[in-house]
């Protein structure tokens, strides 16, 4: 499996650490209520197919949002998390 770092280009998966689903990028407003925060923290889809998750590129220190497919293992895109995509 190879993942593209927006800075470094296509790299081996060993250079990356998985964090979790990209929902973590979409934090509810502070006054959204307890149930919204419970969902944000704990509820995740488990898709067979396209998914989007957070990876850390260890040697360069960039957080990236990766589009990949859990069925085919294809990695189809990646952007820097700091660019704020949700």
């Amino acid at each position: 499996m190879r993942i593209t770092c927006p800075h470094c280009g296509e790299r081996d998966r060993r250079e990356f650490t998985y964090q979790g689903a990209s929902e973590i990028m979409a934090r509810p407003d502070a006054d959204a209520g307890v149930s919204a925060f419970a969902d944000y923290l704990h509820l995740r889809d488990n898709p067979a197919g396209d998914t989007r998750d957070m990876w850390y590129h260890d040697p360069c220190g960039a957080w990236i949002v990766v589009d990949r497919n859990t069925v085919t293992h294809a990695v189809t895109g990646s952007t820097l998390a700091r660019e704020g995509r949700t």
């Binding site: 790299r11 060993r14 260890d58 040697p59 360069c60 820097l80």
Partner: protein
């Protein structure tokens, strides 16, 4: 009174020549990690260039001029080696790195093949030219790998990893030489 003796990161371990590759220590006495604040990269680059001749490097590149160097060392960060930094207050986060980095230079026809055993990148000169740098792994250790010549590389790791770096490079070079 205890008498302190300054030691370089790879003191007593280098230089060594194995087959067609020579490993030597590069002592980095003065260096700074410069991380420009959001939107300040151009200002930082201008200030650096006015003072030291080298600006802020693009990703995966090293800039050199008359003894000064600036090397890209990760997302939004550069390692700047020069006599002194300009005033960067309000422009960048600066961390002093002198004495904090272990750097080893590989010279010789086997330098490329030695690193090929350790670094999961295509470091051939056709794709990785002089002045190109990469953040990757040497074995299991995060490192900066920079091509400094046709048959020369410089590998930088944290100082605490100096002995591991020398060991990894030595083993790779020995393995290569044994097959020659």
């Amino acid at each position: 009174m205890v008498k302190l003796i300054a030691q370089t990161p790879c003191e007593g371990q280098l230089p060594m020549t194995i087959g067609d590759v020579t490993l030597t220590e590069v002592v980095i006495q003065t260096a700074w990690n410069v991380a420009p604040f959001a939107g300040k990269e151009a200002d930082v680059s201008k200030a650096l260039e006015a003072q030291s001749g080298v600006g802020f490097p693009a990703a995966n590149r090293m800039l050199t001029k008359a003894g000064s160097r600036s090397i890209w060392v990760g997302a939004g960060r550069a390692l700047v080696q020069c006599d002194g930094l300009p005033e960067l207050s309000g422009l960048a986060a600066v961390t002093e790195q002198g004495d904090a980095i272990a750097a080893v230079r590989l010279d010789g026809p086997a330098a490329e093949a030695t690193l090929a055993r350790l670094v999961p990148l295509d470091l051939r000169v056709s794709t990785f030219k002089r002045g190109h740098t990469a953040r990757s792994f040497v074995g299991h250790m995060a490192a900066s790998v920079t091509r400094v010549g046709a048959e020369a590389f410089e590998v930088m790791v944290m100082r605490s990893m100096a002995r591991t770096l020398v060991h990894e490079l030595e083993e790779a070079a020995k393995g290569l030489a044994a097959r020659a």
